[in-house]
Each structure stands twice: as structure tokens, then as C-alpha cells.
Amino acid sequence: MTDAPMPSSPLDALADASERDLLASAARADADATLALIDRYAPVLFNLLLRTTGLVALAEELTRDVLADALRQPAAAVPPPDGRWIVALAKETYRRLLAIDLRPDEPTHRVRIAPRYWQPERLQTADDDGLRPATARAARLLRRRLGEAWSRLAMRQRFVLALVEPHRLSTDELADVLDESEPVARQIRDEAKLALLLKLPRPSDARRREAPEARP
């Protein structure tokens, strides 16, 4: 007698499906494809909004609204041949963020925020193993300060960085999301990264503080 196979989730069968196929199936009212899209994009949008606003309830509400509205007309949501759905979702998310009372150019630490959600987890990258002790110490210091610096960025800067870095958005995709020209979008991205960089201690400062005897 052979063991009966475990009943698998309908989403398992769609784990490798491309987003374009899923959107096309969702447009034909395929419930499994719709659920697979929700499964794939709800965490993505939630994290983008959480890192932008620092507000769990707001992130949850906007994720639900943006995703549900996009999936009500999946045929219209299918991106162009060289496009990605995350761009369309982020564009709508940004439009809604601007519509609520979060000013894009002002730091949002005036509203109630939860900076603990902005503490980046300790990174376990292959690079870490090869770091010299002083560099590793500086990296640890940097990680500790990153959450604090992040909370002092303006809302739009956080949105741009939270979108561009994990999803590797190109400049034209970012321009589409922000509804700006490409040079302006590039400038906004560069300014956001520079603002974050300037709010962090420089590795040389950290090294100097940690190893004063090394100085002449």
C-alpha cells in the first residue's frame, strides 16, 4: 500500500507561473491565479508601505485597497510587454500616499511612527565573512544607525529607496511610478540616497572612534 499524497495548496501549482500568466488567468476569473497574485504581492506592497510610513494599520489598509482595486480589473492591470506589475502597483500606491495627509517632502516623525519596524535585520551576506574586524565593526555600527537615519528621511525619500533597492527599479520605471521625467526621477532617487548617506556615520569616523590608538 502506498501513502496517499498530501493534499497540496492550489497555490503550489502556480508557484513558478509568471506574473503575466497569472494576470491573464485572473482576467478570466481564475480564482487560484487571483489568490496567487495576492499571495505574491500583498507582502511586497505591505513592506513597501510599512517602510514608507512606519504605520502598520495604514500599510495594511492601503495594501488591501490597492491590490483589490488592481485585481478588480486584471485585464487592465497587465503591464506592457517589457513592464512589471510592481510598477503599476507602486504608482497607484504613491498616488494614494500623496492623497492622504503625509507630505512627501517632510519627515514623518511628527506623526506616530513605529521605528522598530525600520530596524534592518542583521545582514548575513557572503561579504560579511571576508570583512576585516575593523570593517565588520563599522558595518555593525552602520546597521544600528540605519533604522534611525531611515526614520529621519522624508516620506517620498523612504518610498523611493524602499521601492528601488529591493525591486531593482530602473530609472524609467521609477519615473513612471513618480509621474516625473527620467532626469527628475533620477535626481529624486540620488537625493534620497545621499540624504540617507549623510545621516549615517562614515566608516572612517566609526573606525577612528573604535581604534583611537591607531592614530599617529
Binding site: S9, P10, L11, A31, T34, L35, I38, D39, A42, P43, V44, F46, N47, L50, R51, V56, E60, T63, R64, D65, L67, A68, L71, R72, R116, Y117, P120, E121, L123, T125, D127, A139, L142, R143, L146, L161, E165, P166, R168, T171, R186, R189, D190, E191, K193, L194, L196, L197, L200, R202, P203, S204
Partner: protein
């Protein structure tokens, strides 16, 4: 060819790192970076921060978010979503415990706390009195 100074290069470091700066700017930046240790260090710092942001581990979506999103599209999809999406806790156990506010004290606990404080004060006063007696 004009040369960039550190302040001129700074706003373009990110574009230089991503390789989407113009050819002219790239040459000027390379020229400056070859001469300036401070800017090379800053570029390395920028790379490090970029890598950290790219590797920032996402939080799990709150339980119920996927189901609620599906339910917003129709009751049938909501019912199906409740079967498909497992309800995992939003945060890990240790994080949940850290975020939970301390439970309020019961009446007995409050009385016991004040009794302990009073006993410690009395003990302290008694010791101080004995010490003062020995000195005088």
C-alpha cells in the same frame, strides 16, 4: 577638461555607482575618484548602504491581510482564501513578547510591592541609625 571637486561629485555618486550617469560625468567622476581618498571611501560607504537596503529582510504580512484582500473581491474568493492562506502570527514569539505592554498589577501585587518598599526603607533607616550611634 574641467575637474570636479568633492562637493560637485557628491550628488552624482549614486548615479555613478549605478552606471546611469552620462559619459562625461562618468569620466569626470572617475578622474576625481582616482585622486580623492575621501570620495573613494564615501563611494565604498554608499555601496555598503545600498547592499544593506537591498538585503533588508521583509516583514511577514499580517495574518488576515491576504484573506481580507481576497474577501474585498467577493465573498466566494474570501471563503477560498480562508482555506488557502494559513494564519501565521505577524511577528515571531520573541518580538511579540517585546512589543506587548506589561500586564497591570493586581491589588495584592501592589500591596506586596509597597510592603517590600516600606521594609527596605525601614531596614535602611535602622542601619543608618546604628552607624550614627557608633560614630557618636
Amino acid at each position: 577638461m574641467n575637474r570636479l571637486d568633492c562637493r560637485q561629485l557628491l550628488p552624482h555618486l549614486e548615479s555613478h555607482l549605478r552606471g546611469d550617469a552620462s559619459e562625461e560625468l562618468r569620466l569626470l567622476a572617475d578622474d576625481h575618484l582616482a585622486r580623492c581618498t575621501s570620495c573613494r571611501r564615501r563611494l565604498a560607504h554608499l555601496k555598503q548602504v545600498t547592499a544593506m537596503l537591498a538585503a533588508w529582510r521583509p516583514m511577514p504580512a499580517p495574518p488576515g491581510l491576504k484573506t481580507e484582500t481576497a474577501a474585498a473581491l467577493g465573498p466566494d474568493l474570501g471563503r477560498l482564501a480562508r482555506e488557502v492562506f494559513p494564519r501565521r502570527p505577524f511577528l515571531g514569539r520573541r518580538r511579540r513578547e517585546r512589543l506587548r505592554p506589561p500586564a497591570p498589577m493586581t491589588g495584592y501585587q501592589r500591596v506586596a510591592t509597597w510592603l517590600v518598599i516600606a521594609a527596605l526603607l525601614f531596614l535602611g533607616a535602622a542601619i543608618a541609625y546604628r552607624i550614627l550611634q557608633q560614630w557618636m
